[in-house]
Protein backbone atom coordinates (compact mmCIF):
# COMPACT_ATOMS: atom_id res chain seq x y z
CA UNK A 1 0.00 0.00 0.00
CA UNK A 2 1.03 3.58 -0.38
CA UNK A 3 1.68 5.70 2.62
CA UNK A 4 0.97 9.35 2.58
CA UNK A 5 1.37 12.04 5.15
CA UNK A 6 -0.31 15.34 5.46
CA UNK A 7 1.46 18.60 6.04
CA UNK A 8 1.53 18.35 9.75
CA UNK A 9 3.51 15.17 9.46
CA UNK A 10 0.78 12.99 10.90
CA UNK A 11 -0.99 10.25 9.05
CA UNK A 12 -3.31 11.51 6.42
CA UNK A 13 -6.84 10.51 7.42
CA UNK A 14 -7.54 9.75 3.77
CA UNK A 15 -5.45 6.64 3.98
CA UNK A 16 -6.31 3.42 5.62
CA UNK A 17 -4.82 2.80 9.05
CA UNK A 18 -1.28 1.54 9.01
CA UNK A 19 1.41 0.49 11.39
CA UNK A 20 3.97 2.31 9.27
CA UNK A 21 6.39 4.25 11.46
CA UNK A 22 7.98 7.18 9.63
CA UNK A 23 10.87 7.40 12.06
CA UNK A 24 11.85 3.83 11.24
CA UNK A 25 12.46 4.75 7.62
CA UNK A 26 15.89 5.81 6.43
CA UNK A 27 16.15 9.58 6.76
CA UNK A 28 15.37 11.33 3.50
CA UNK A 29 18.00 13.67 2.10
CA UNK A 30 17.56 17.31 3.00
CA UNK A 31 15.34 19.36 0.72
CA UNK A 32 17.80 21.03 -1.66
CA UNK A 33 15.87 24.25 -2.26
CA UNK A 34 18.60 25.96 -4.27
CA UNK A 35 18.77 23.09 -6.72
CA UNK A 36 14.99 22.83 -6.95
CA UNK A 37 14.58 26.55 -7.55
CA UNK A 38 17.12 26.36 -10.37
CA UNK A 39 14.74 23.93 -12.08
CA UNK A 40 12.12 26.71 -12.33
CA UNK A 41 13.53 29.48 -14.54
CA UNK A 42 10.68 31.94 -13.90
CA UNK A 43 11.56 32.10 -10.20
CA UNK A 44 14.98 33.61 -10.88
CA UNK A 45 13.63 36.94 -12.10
CA UNK A 46 13.41 40.31 -10.45
CA UNK A 47 10.29 42.45 -10.35
CA UNK A 48 11.20 46.14 -10.32
CA UNK A 49 14.68 45.19 -9.21
CA UNK A 50 13.46 42.97 -6.38
CA UNK A 51 13.58 39.15 -6.47
CA UNK A 52 10.16 37.73 -7.29
CA UNK A 53 8.44 35.92 -4.43
CA UNK A 54 5.77 33.88 -6.19
CA UNK A 55 3.14 32.98 -3.60
CA UNK A 56 0.15 32.42 -5.88
CA UNK A 57 0.61 28.73 -6.58
CA UNK A 58 -3.03 27.84 -5.99
CA UNK A 59 -3.88 29.99 -9.01
CA UNK A 60 -1.24 28.38 -11.17
CA UNK A 61 2.11 26.77 -10.47
CA UNK A 62 5.39 27.49 -12.21
CA UNK A 63 6.96 25.07 -14.68
CA UNK A 64 10.28 23.27 -14.38
CA UNK A 65 12.67 23.35 -17.34
CA UNK A 66 11.96 19.65 -17.82
CA UNK A 67 8.32 20.44 -18.65
CA UNK A 68 9.14 23.41 -20.86
CA UNK A 69 11.70 21.32 -22.75
CA UNK A 70 9.38 18.34 -23.11
CA UNK A 71 6.76 20.49 -24.81
CA UNK A 72 9.31 22.26 -27.01
CA UNK A 73 10.93 18.97 -27.97
CA UNK A 74 7.59 17.44 -28.81
CA UNK A 75 6.87 20.28 -31.22
CA UNK A 76 10.43 20.16 -32.56
CA UNK A 77 10.59 16.43 -33.19
CA UNK A 78 7.38 14.49 -32.70
CA UNK A 79 4.41 16.66 -33.69
CA UNK A 80 1.67 14.96 -35.71
CA UNK A 81 -2.00 14.41 -35.00
CA UNK A 82 -2.66 11.39 -32.85
CA UNK A 83 -4.70 8.27 -33.68
CA UNK A 84 -5.19 9.34 -37.28
CA UNK A 85 -2.45 8.22 -39.62
CA UNK A 86 -0.04 5.38 -40.11
CA UNK A 87 3.18 7.22 -40.86
CA UNK A 88 6.08 7.09 -38.46
CA UNK A 89 5.70 10.58 -37.04
CA UNK A 90 2.01 10.06 -36.28
CA UNK A 91 2.83 6.78 -34.62
CA UNK A 92 5.39 8.50 -32.46
CA UNK A 93 2.97 11.27 -31.48
CA UNK A 94 0.26 8.73 -30.70
CA UNK A 95 2.68 6.68 -28.64
CA UNK A 96 3.72 9.79 -26.69
CA UNK A 97 0.08 10.74 -26.03
CA UNK A 98 -0.87 7.27 -24.87
CA UNK A 99 2.31 7.01 -22.82
CA UNK A 100 1.23 10.23 -21.08
CA UNK A 101 -2.14 8.63 -20.33
CA UNK A 102 -0.38 5.64 -18.83
CA UNK A 103 1.90 7.95 -16.82
CA UNK A 104 -1.16 9.67 -15.34
CA UNK A 105 -2.76 6.30 -14.62
CA UNK A 106 0.25 5.15 -12.68
CA UNK A 107 0.61 8.43 -10.81
CA UNK A 108 -2.94 8.35 -9.43
CA UNK A 109 -3.06 4.55 -9.32
CA UNK A 110 -6.09 4.15 -11.57
CA UNK A 111 -6.91 0.55 -12.45
CA UNK A 112 -6.74 1.15 -16.19
CA UNK A 113 -5.53 3.82 -18.62
CA UNK A 114 -9.02 3.74 -20.11
CA UNK A 115 -10.17 5.48 -16.95
CA UNK A 116 -8.06 8.55 -17.80
CA UNK A 117 -9.81 11.15 -19.97
CA UNK A 118 -7.73 14.07 -21.17
CA UNK A 119 -9.60 17.37 -21.10
CA UNK A 120 -8.71 21.04 -20.81
CA UNK A 121 -8.80 21.06 -17.05
CA UNK A 122 -10.84 20.59 -13.91
CA UNK A 123 -13.54 23.02 -15.02
CA UNK A 124 -14.13 21.17 -18.26
CA UNK A 125 -14.15 17.84 -16.43
CA UNK A 126 -16.90 18.98 -14.07
CA UNK A 127 -18.88 20.48 -16.95
CA UNK A 128 -18.58 17.18 -18.79
CA UNK A 129 -20.03 15.35 -15.81
CA UNK A 130 -22.83 17.86 -15.25
CA UNK A 131 -23.76 17.33 -18.89
CA UNK A 132 -23.55 13.54 -18.90
CA UNK A 133 -24.11 12.15 -15.41
CA UNK A 134 -26.90 14.66 -14.99
CA UNK A 135 -28.46 14.14 -18.40
CA UNK A 136 -31.21 11.80 -17.23
CA UNK A 137 -31.78 13.37 -13.83
CA UNK A 138 -35.20 14.77 -13.37
CA UNK A 139 -36.89 17.38 -11.22
CA UNK A 140 -36.17 16.80 -7.56
CA UNK A 141 -33.01 14.75 -8.08
CA UNK A 142 -30.25 16.20 -5.98
CA UNK A 143 -26.56 16.93 -6.18
CA UNK A 144 -24.77 17.71 -2.92
CA UNK A 145 -21.96 20.29 -2.89
CA UNK A 146 -20.14 21.95 0.03
CA UNK A 147 -19.80 25.55 1.19
CA UNK A 148 -16.12 25.57 0.29
CA UNK A 149 -16.50 24.78 -3.41
CA UNK A 150 -14.82 26.75 -6.18
CA UNK A 151 -17.25 28.26 -8.70
CA UNK A 152 -16.14 25.51 -11.11
CA UNK A 153 -17.95 23.00 -8.91
CA UNK A 154 -21.03 25.17 -8.40
CA UNK A 155 -21.97 26.83 -11.66
CA UNK A 156 -22.06 23.71 -13.90
CA UNK A 157 -24.62 22.22 -11.50
CA UNK A 158 -26.66 25.42 -11.53
CA UNK A 159 -26.75 25.20 -15.33
CA UNK A 160 -27.98 21.64 -14.95
CA UNK A 161 -30.58 22.87 -12.48
CA UNK A 162 -31.82 25.31 -15.12
CA UNK A 163 -32.15 22.51 -17.64
CA UNK A 164 -33.52 19.66 -15.53
CA UNK A 165 -34.82 21.41 -12.41
CA UNK A 166 -32.59 19.30 -10.18
CA UNK A 167 -31.90 20.36 -6.62
CA UNK A 168 -28.60 21.57 -5.23
CA UNK A 169 -27.96 20.90 -1.54
CA UNK A 170 -24.96 22.27 0.32
CA UNK A 171 -23.00 20.51 3.05
CA UNK A 172 -22.09 23.23 5.58
CA UNK A 173 -18.66 23.84 7.03
CA UNK A 174 -17.56 24.79 10.53
CA UNK A 175 -16.09 28.22 11.32
CA UNK A 176 -12.64 26.61 11.32
CA UNK A 177 -13.21 25.62 7.72
CA UNK A 178 -13.82 21.90 8.05
CA UNK A 179 -16.71 19.94 6.59
CA UNK A 180 -19.62 19.46 8.98
CA UNK A 181 -19.46 15.68 8.74
CA UNK A 182 -22.43 15.22 11.06
CA UNK A 183 -24.66 16.90 8.50
CA UNK A 184 -23.52 14.68 5.65
CA UNK A 185 -25.61 11.48 6.05
CA UNK A 186 -28.97 13.26 6.05
CA UNK A 187 -28.09 15.10 2.85
CA UNK A 188 -27.21 11.85 1.12
CA UNK A 189 -30.54 10.20 1.78
CA UNK A 190 -33.49 10.52 -0.53
CA UNK A 191 -33.05 11.60 -4.10
CA UNK A 192 -29.31 12.43 -3.98
CA UNK A 193 -27.62 11.30 -7.19
CA UNK A 194 -24.11 12.64 -6.67
CA UNK A 195 -21.85 14.20 -4.07
CA UNK A 196 -19.37 16.61 -5.64
CA UNK A 197 -16.73 18.15 -3.40
CA UNK A 198 -13.25 19.53 -3.38
CA UNK A 199 -10.28 17.57 -2.05
CA UNK A 200 -8.40 20.69 -0.93
CA UNK A 201 -9.99 24.14 -0.54
CA UNK A 202 -8.32 26.76 -2.70
CA UNK A 203 -9.13 29.44 -0.11
CA UNK A 204 -8.90 27.70 3.27
CA UNK A 205 -6.29 25.09 2.46
CA UNK A 206 -8.50 22.51 4.18
CA UNK A 207 -7.72 18.93 3.18
CA UNK A 208 -11.02 17.11 3.25
CA UNK A 209 -11.19 13.50 4.50
CA UNK A 210 -12.16 12.16 1.09
CA UNK A 211 -11.83 8.44 1.86
CA UNK A 212 -14.17 8.81 4.84
CA UNK A 213 -16.62 10.95 2.86
CA UNK A 214 -16.64 8.39 0.05
CA UNK A 215 -17.32 5.56 2.50
CA UNK A 216 -20.29 7.41 3.96
CA UNK A 217 -21.64 8.26 0.50
CA UNK A 218 -21.18 4.76 -0.88
CA UNK A 219 -22.96 3.29 2.15
CA UNK A 220 -25.96 5.25 0.90
CA UNK A 221 -25.40 4.39 -2.73
CA UNK A 222 -24.26 7.89 -3.73
CA UNK A 223 -21.32 8.22 -6.13
CA UNK A 224 -18.67 10.87 -5.45
CA UNK A 225 -16.90 13.34 -7.71
CA UNK A 226 -13.75 14.90 -6.24
CA UNK A 227 -12.37 18.23 -7.47
CA UNK A 228 -8.68 17.54 -7.09
CA UNK A 229 -7.37 20.76 -8.62
CA UNK A 230 -5.68 21.92 -5.42
CA UNK A 231 -4.53 18.54 -4.17
CA UNK A 232 -2.22 17.31 -6.90
CA UNK A 233 0.56 19.82 -6.23
CA UNK A 234 0.88 18.73 -2.63
CA UNK A 235 0.21 15.05 -2.30
CA UNK A 236 0.18 11.79 -4.16
CA UNK A 237 -3.39 10.88 -4.81
CA UNK A 238 -4.42 7.25 -4.99
CA UNK A 239 -7.88 7.10 -6.54
CA UNK A 240 -8.35 3.45 -5.67
CA UNK A 241 -7.49 4.06 -2.02
CA UNK A 242 -9.91 7.00 -1.98
CA UNK A 243 -12.46 4.84 -3.84
CA UNK A 244 -14.00 7.96 -5.41
CA UNK A 245 -16.01 7.49 -8.59
CA UNK A 246 -14.60 10.53 -10.38
CA UNK A 247 -11.52 12.66 -9.76
CA UNK A 248 -10.76 15.81 -11.77
CA UNK A 249 -7.58 17.87 -11.89
CA UNK A 250 -5.63 20.39 -13.97
CA UNK A 251 -2.09 20.10 -15.30
CA UNK A 252 -1.17 23.73 -14.74
CA UNK A 253 -1.69 23.57 -10.99
CA UNK A 254 0.74 20.64 -10.70
CA UNK A 255 3.72 22.18 -12.53
CA UNK A 256 2.47 21.07 -15.95
CA UNK A 257 1.19 23.18 -18.83
CA UNK A 258 -2.12 25.01 -19.15
CA UNK A 259 -4.79 23.56 -21.42
CA UNK A 260 -4.50 19.97 -20.22
CA UNK A 261 -6.37 18.30 -17.42
CA UNK A 262 -7.74 14.93 -16.47
CA UNK A 263 -11.03 13.36 -15.57
CA UNK A 264 -10.55 10.02 -13.87
CA UNK A 265 -13.64 7.85 -13.70
CA UNK A 266 -14.13 4.27 -12.65
CA UNK A 267 -14.46 2.20 -15.83
CA UNK A 268 -18.05 1.19 -15.12
CA UNK A 269 -19.00 4.80 -14.39
CA UNK A 270 -17.42 6.19 -17.57
CA UNK A 271 -18.91 3.44 -19.72
CA UNK A 272 -22.37 4.35 -18.50
CA UNK A 273 -22.03 7.96 -19.62
CA UNK A 274 -23.28 9.26 -22.95
CA UNK A 275 -20.96 11.38 -25.10
CA UNK A 276 -20.84 15.09 -24.40
CA UNK A 277 -19.16 16.86 -27.30
CA UNK A 278 -19.32 15.29 -30.73
CA UNK A 279 -16.65 15.28 -33.39
CA UNK A 280 -13.70 13.34 -34.64
CA UNK A 281 -11.85 10.85 -32.47
CA UNK A 282 -14.85 9.98 -30.29
CA UNK A 283 -16.64 7.75 -32.80
CA UNK A 284 -16.48 4.17 -33.95
CA UNK A 285 -18.60 4.42 -37.09
CA UNK A 286 -20.39 7.40 -38.61
CA UNK A 287 -23.11 7.41 -41.27
CA UNK A 288 -25.62 10.17 -41.81
CA UNK A 289 -28.25 7.90 -40.32
CA UNK A 290 -26.47 7.00 -37.15
CA UNK A 291 -23.20 7.15 -35.27
CA UNK A 292 -21.75 4.59 -32.94
CA UNK A 293 -19.50 6.05 -30.31
CA UNK A 294 -16.08 4.95 -29.20
CA UNK A 295 -15.66 3.53 -25.71
CA UNK A 296 -14.06 5.66 -22.97
CA UNK A 297 -11.76 7.48 -22.85
CA UNK A 298 -11.98 8.39 -26.58
CA UNK A 299 -15.74 8.88 -26.27
CA UNK A 300 -15.01 12.05 -24.32
CA UNK A 301 -12.09 13.32 -26.38
CA UNK A 302 -13.81 14.87 -29.38
CA UNK A 303 -11.59 16.72 -31.81
CA UNK A 304 -7.86 17.21 -31.70
CA UNK A 305 -6.78 17.07 -28.09
CA UNK A 306 -3.92 18.98 -26.51
CA UNK A 307 -1.55 16.06 -26.98
CA UNK A 308 1.52 18.27 -26.55
CA UNK A 309 -0.01 19.36 -23.26
CA UNK A 310 -0.42 15.72 -22.25
CA UNK A 311 3.27 15.16 -22.97
CA UNK A 312 4.04 18.20 -20.81
CA UNK A 313 1.84 16.84 -18.02
CA UNK A 314 3.68 13.51 -18.16
CA UNK A 315 6.97 15.41 -17.86
CA UNK A 316 5.60 17.24 -14.80
CA UNK A 317 4.73 13.88 -13.24
CA UNK A 318 8.22 12.61 -14.06
CA UNK A 319 9.61 15.67 -12.30
CA UNK A 320 7.40 15.21 -9.23
CA UNK A 321 8.27 11.52 -9.15
CA UNK A 322 11.96 12.35 -8.76
CA UNK A 323 11.28 14.41 -5.64
CA UNK A 324 11.37 12.76 -2.26
CA UNK A 325 7.75 12.87 -1.08
CA UNK A 326 8.63 12.73 2.60
CA UNK A 327 11.09 15.60 2.35
CA UNK A 328 8.63 17.58 0.25
CA UNK A 329 5.81 17.14 2.74
CA UNK A 330 8.10 18.07 5.57
CA UNK A 331 9.20 21.22 3.75
CA UNK A 332 5.63 22.26 2.94
CA UNK A 333 4.46 21.57 6.48
CA UNK A 334 7.33 23.64 7.80
CA UNK A 335 6.53 26.48 5.37
CA UNK A 336 2.87 26.44 6.46
CA UNK A 337 3.82 26.40 10.13
CA UNK A 338 6.24 29.29 9.63
CA UNK A 339 3.78 31.33 7.55
CA UNK A 340 0.99 30.79 10.07
CA UNK A 341 3.25 31.78 12.95
CA UNK A 342 4.66 34.91 11.27
CA UNK A 343 1.29 36.12 9.97
CA UNK A 344 -0.50 35.49 13.25
CA UNK A 345 1.99 37.75 14.98
CA UNK A 346 0.96 40.73 12.82
CA UNK A 347 -1.45 42.98 14.77
CA UNK A 348 -4.95 43.01 13.30
CA UNK A 349 -4.31 40.04 11.01
CA UNK A 350 -6.85 37.22 11.04
CA UNK A 351 -6.31 33.94 9.23
CA UNK A 352 -9.38 32.46 7.53
CA UNK A 353 -9.26 28.68 7.57
CA UNK A 354 -7.95 26.89 10.64
CA UNK A 355 -8.54 23.28 9.70
CA UNK A 356 -6.43 20.63 11.37
CA UNK A 357 -5.31 19.24 8.05
CA UNK A 358 -4.22 21.99 5.70
CA UNK A 359 -2.32 22.39 2.48
CA UNK A 360 0.16 25.30 2.59
CA UNK A 361 -2.45 27.94 1.80
CA UNK A 362 -3.03 30.92 4.08
CA UNK A 363 -5.94 33.29 3.50
CA UNK A 364 -6.08 36.34 5.71
CA UNK A 365 -7.69 39.67 6.51
CA UNK A 366 -5.91 42.67 7.95
CA UNK A 367 -7.83 45.30 9.95
CA UNK A 368 -7.94 48.57 8.08
CA UNK A 369 -6.19 47.18 5.03
CA UNK A 370 -8.36 46.12 2.13
CA UNK A 371 -7.12 43.05 0.25
CA UNK A 372 -6.62 44.99 -2.97
CA UNK A 373 -4.55 47.70 -1.34
CA UNK A 374 -2.47 44.97 0.27
CA UNK A 375 -2.06 43.22 -3.08
CA UNK A 376 -0.77 46.38 -4.74
CA UNK A 377 1.57 47.22 -1.86
CA UNK A 378 2.97 43.67 -1.77
CA UNK A 379 3.48 43.63 -5.52
CA UNK A 380 5.74 46.63 -5.19
CA UNK A 381 7.98 44.47 -3.05
CA UNK A 382 8.07 41.70 -5.60
CA UNK A 383 5.56 39.54 -3.72
CA UNK A 384 2.79 37.92 -5.77
CA UNK A 385 -0.30 36.95 -3.77
CA UNK A 386 -3.90 36.59 -4.86
CA UNK A 387 -6.47 39.06 -3.57
CA UNK A 388 -10.21 38.86 -4.10
CA UNK A 389 -12.93 36.26 -3.76
CA UNK A 390 -10.87 33.40 -5.22
CA UNK A 391 -13.79 32.16 -7.32
CA UNK A 392 -15.48 31.07 -4.11
CA UNK A 393 -18.07 33.79 -3.45
CA UNK A 394 -20.40 31.56 -1.37
CA UNK A 395 -17.45 30.83 0.92
CA UNK A 396 -16.71 34.57 1.21
CA UNK A 397 -20.37 35.06 2.16
CA UNK A 398 -20.06 32.34 4.80
CA UNK A 399 -17.24 34.26 6.45
CA UNK A 400 -18.97 37.59 5.80
CA UNK A 401 -16.01 39.09 3.97
CA UNK A 402 -15.88 40.58 0.47
CA UNK A 403 -12.35 39.48 -0.26
CA UNK A 404 -9.25 37.99 1.31
CA UNK A 405 -5.58 37.98 0.53
CA UNK A 406 -4.11 34.54 -0.02
CA UNK A 407 -0.59 33.25 0.03
CA UNK A 408 -0.44 29.78 -1.50
CA UNK A 409 2.90 28.04 -1.23
CA UNK A 410 4.63 25.37 -3.26
CA UNK A 411 7.58 23.12 -2.53
CA UNK A 412 9.95 25.65 -4.14
CA UNK A 413 9.03 28.50 -1.81
CA UNK A 414 11.43 29.51 0.93
CA UNK A 415 11.32 30.67 4.53
CA UNK A 416 12.89 33.90 3.35
CA UNK A 417 9.94 34.50 1.01
CA UNK A 418 7.53 33.91 3.89
CA UNK A 419 9.50 36.39 6.01
CA UNK A 420 9.38 38.94 3.22
CA UNK A 421 5.61 38.43 2.99
CA UNK A 422 5.11 38.97 6.69
CA UNK A 423 7.35 42.06 6.77
CA UNK A 424 5.62 43.53 3.71
CA UNK A 425 2.14 42.97 5.21
CA UNK A 426 3.28 44.69 8.38
CA UNK A 427 4.62 47.65 6.39
CA UNK A 428 1.47 47.86 4.28
CA UNK A 429 -0.66 47.76 7.40
CA UNK A 430 1.24 50.72 8.79
CA UNK A 431 0.88 52.68 5.54
CA UNK A 432 -2.86 52.08 5.36
CA UNK A 433 -3.73 52.25 9.05
Amino acid sequence: MRIRFNWTGTMNPDTEPSTFDPSARAPSPPWDLDAIRRDFPVLAQRVRGIPLAYLDNAATSQKPTAVIDAIANFYRHDNANVHRAVYTLAERATAAYEAARERVRGWINAASADEIVFLRGTTEAINLLANTVGQDWSAGDRVVLTTMEHHANIVPWQLLRQRNRVEIAVLPITPKGELDMDALPALLDGPTRLLALTHVSNVLGTVNPIAEVVRIAHDRGVPVLVDGAQAMAHQRVDVQALDCDFYAFSGHKMFGPTGIGVLYGKAARLSALPPWQGGGEMIRRVTFERTRFAPPPQRFEAGTQDFAGAVGLAAAIDYLDRLDPTAMERHEAELLRHATERLEAIPGLRIIGRARHKAPVVSFLVDGAHAHDLGTLLDRKGIAVRTGHHCAMPLMDFYGVPATSRASLAFYNTHDEVDRLADAIDDARKVLA
Partner: protein, 153 residues
Protein backbone atom coordinates in the same frame (compact mmCIF):
# COMPACT_ATOMS: atom_id res chain seq x y z
CA UNK B 1 8.06 52.73 -0.24
CA UNK B 2 8.93 53.44 -3.86
CA UNK B 3 8.21 56.80 -5.48
CA UNK B 4 5.81 55.14 -7.86
CA UNK B 5 3.74 53.81 -5.01
CA UNK B 6 3.64 57.14 -3.31
CA UNK B 7 2.10 58.29 -6.54
CA UNK B 8 -0.90 56.03 -5.82
CA UNK B 9 -1.00 55.93 -2.03
CA UNK B 10 -0.39 59.61 -1.40
CA UNK B 11 -1.17 61.02 2.02
CA UNK B 12 -4.29 62.67 0.72
CA UNK B 13 -5.63 59.30 -0.47
CA UNK B 14 -4.72 57.62 2.78
CA UNK B 15 -6.29 60.41 4.82
CA UNK B 16 -9.54 60.29 2.88
CA UNK B 17 -9.60 56.51 3.34
CA UNK B 18 -9.13 56.85 7.10
CA UNK B 19 -11.58 59.72 7.48
CA UNK B 20 -13.86 59.85 4.46
CA UNK B 21 -15.81 63.06 3.96
CA UNK B 22 -19.60 62.98 3.72
CA UNK B 23 -19.63 59.34 4.79
CA UNK B 24 -23.17 59.08 6.10
CA UNK B 25 -26.66 58.02 5.11
CA UNK B 26 -29.03 60.63 3.77
CA UNK B 27 -32.72 60.68 4.55
CA UNK B 28 -34.98 61.86 1.74
CA UNK B 29 -32.28 61.87 -0.93
CA UNK B 30 -33.50 62.77 -4.41
CA UNK B 31 -31.21 60.22 -5.99
CA UNK B 32 -29.81 57.04 -4.42
CA UNK B 33 -27.54 54.83 -6.47
CA UNK B 34 -25.91 51.61 -5.41
CA UNK B 35 -22.71 50.66 -7.17
CA UNK B 36 -20.56 47.60 -6.84
CA UNK B 37 -17.45 46.04 -8.25
CA UNK B 38 -18.07 42.30 -8.11
CA UNK B 39 -14.43 41.54 -8.85
CA UNK B 40 -13.20 42.96 -5.57
CA UNK B 41 -16.42 43.19 -3.59
CA UNK B 42 -16.39 46.97 -3.33
CA UNK B 43 -19.86 48.34 -2.67
CA UNK B 44 -21.03 51.89 -2.23
CA UNK B 45 -24.22 53.88 -2.12
CA UNK B 46 -24.22 57.47 -3.34
CA UNK B 47 -26.90 59.92 -2.22
CA UNK B 48 -27.74 63.22 -3.91
CA UNK B 49 -30.06 66.00 -2.87
CA UNK B 50 -30.82 68.37 -5.72
CA UNK B 51 -32.10 71.93 -5.51
CA UNK B 52 -32.68 74.17 -8.49
CA UNK B 53 -30.09 72.49 -10.73
CA UNK B 54 -27.50 72.24 -7.99
CA UNK B 55 -26.20 69.43 -5.82
CA UNK B 56 -27.43 70.75 -2.50
CA UNK B 57 -26.08 67.77 -0.58
CA UNK B 58 -24.10 64.66 -1.43
CA UNK B 59 -23.03 61.72 0.72
CA UNK B 60 -21.98 58.12 0.44
CA UNK B 61 -21.66 54.91 2.41
CA UNK B 62 -20.10 51.58 1.67
CA UNK B 63 -16.98 49.47 1.89
CA UNK B 64 -14.03 49.09 -0.36
CA UNK B 65 -10.33 49.55 -0.83
CA UNK B 66 -8.52 52.78 -0.02
CA UNK B 67 -8.63 53.92 -3.62
CA UNK B 68 -12.38 53.50 -3.99
CA UNK B 69 -13.21 55.09 -0.62
CA UNK B 70 -10.85 58.03 -1.19
CA UNK B 71 -12.23 58.53 -4.68
CA UNK B 72 -15.81 58.67 -3.39
CA UNK B 73 -14.81 60.95 -0.54
CA UNK B 74 -12.98 63.39 -2.84
CA UNK B 75 -15.90 63.31 -5.25
CA UNK B 76 -18.41 64.37 -2.61
CA UNK B 77 -16.12 67.08 -1.29
CA UNK B 78 -15.63 68.53 -4.73
CA UNK B 79 -19.22 68.43 -5.91
CA UNK B 80 -21.20 69.69 -2.94
CA UNK B 81 -22.81 72.88 -4.21
CA UNK B 82 -21.83 72.31 -7.85
CA UNK B 83 -24.35 72.61 -10.66
CA UNK B 84 -25.50 69.46 -12.40
CA UNK B 85 -23.82 70.68 -15.57
CA UNK B 86 -20.51 71.10 -13.71
CA UNK B 87 -20.84 67.64 -12.22
CA UNK B 88 -21.50 66.11 -15.63
CA UNK B 89 -18.48 67.85 -17.06
CA UNK B 90 -16.31 66.72 -14.17
CA UNK B 91 -17.44 63.13 -14.66
CA UNK B 92 -16.22 63.28 -18.27
CA UNK B 93 -12.91 64.77 -17.23
CA UNK B 94 -12.31 62.29 -14.41
CA UNK B 95 -13.35 59.37 -16.55
CA UNK B 96 -10.72 60.27 -19.12
CA UNK B 97 -8.08 61.14 -16.56
CA UNK B 98 -8.49 57.87 -14.65
CA UNK B 99 -8.58 55.61 -17.68
CA UNK B 100 -5.56 57.19 -19.33
CA UNK B 101 -7.53 58.69 -22.21
CA UNK B 102 -7.22 62.33 -21.20
CA UNK B 103 -8.01 64.89 -23.91
CA UNK B 104 -6.30 68.30 -24.01
CA UNK B 105 -9.37 69.89 -22.41
CA UNK B 106 -9.18 67.39 -19.54
CA UNK B 107 -5.54 68.21 -18.89
CA UNK B 108 -6.51 71.89 -18.66
CA UNK B 109 -8.99 71.33 -15.80
CA UNK B 110 -7.76 72.31 -12.35
CA UNK B 111 -8.44 69.08 -10.49
CA UNK B 112 -7.19 70.25 -7.13
CA UNK B 113 -7.24 67.34 -4.66
CA UNK B 114 -8.74 65.04 -7.29
CA UNK B 115 -5.39 65.02 -9.07
CA UNK B 116 -4.18 62.58 -6.42
CA UNK B 117 -6.46 59.94 -7.92
CA UNK B 118 -4.87 60.08 -11.35
CA UNK B 119 -1.89 58.01 -10.17
CA UNK B 120 -4.16 55.01 -10.61
CA UNK B 121 -3.59 55.18 -14.38
CA UNK B 122 -0.35 53.27 -13.86
CA UNK B 123 -2.19 50.42 -12.16
CA UNK B 124 -4.50 48.90 -14.77
CA UNK B 125 -5.86 46.38 -12.28
CA UNK B 126 -6.93 49.18 -9.95
CA UNK B 127 -8.54 51.70 -12.30
CA UNK B 128 -12.03 50.38 -11.59
CA UNK B 129 -11.56 51.03 -7.89
CA UNK B 130 -11.16 54.74 -8.64
CA UNK B 131 -13.95 54.98 -11.22
CA UNK B 132 -16.67 53.21 -9.21
CA UNK B 133 -18.01 56.28 -7.42
CA UNK B 134 -17.82 58.34 -10.61
CA UNK B 135 -20.01 55.84 -12.44
CA UNK B 136 -22.43 56.00 -9.52
CA UNK B 137 -22.43 59.79 -9.89
CA UNK B 138 -23.14 59.56 -13.60
CA UNK B 139 -26.04 57.19 -12.97
CA UNK B 140 -27.43 59.51 -10.31
CA UNK B 141 -27.18 62.52 -12.60
CA UNK B 142 -28.87 60.57 -15.38
CA UNK B 143 -31.82 60.14 -13.08
CA UNK B 144 -31.47 56.50 -12.13
CA UNK B 145 -33.40 55.68 -9.02
CA UNK B 146 -33.39 53.43 -6.03
CA UNK B 147 -33.65 50.15 -7.81
CA UNK B 148 -30.64 50.51 -10.04
CA UNK B 149 -27.39 48.82 -9.26
CA UNK B 150 -24.46 50.21 -11.17
CA UNK B 151 -21.61 47.87 -11.75
CA UNK B 152 -18.14 48.35 -13.16
CA UNK B 153 -18.33 44.89 -14.69
Amino acid sequence: MTDELEDLYQDIILDHNRHPANFRPMAHADRTVEADNPLCGDQLTLYLKLDDGRIADIAFQGSGCAISIASASLLTERLKGATIAEAEQLFETMHHMLTGTARPEDEAVDLGSLAALTGVRRYPMRVKCATLSWHALKAALDGHGDDDIISTE
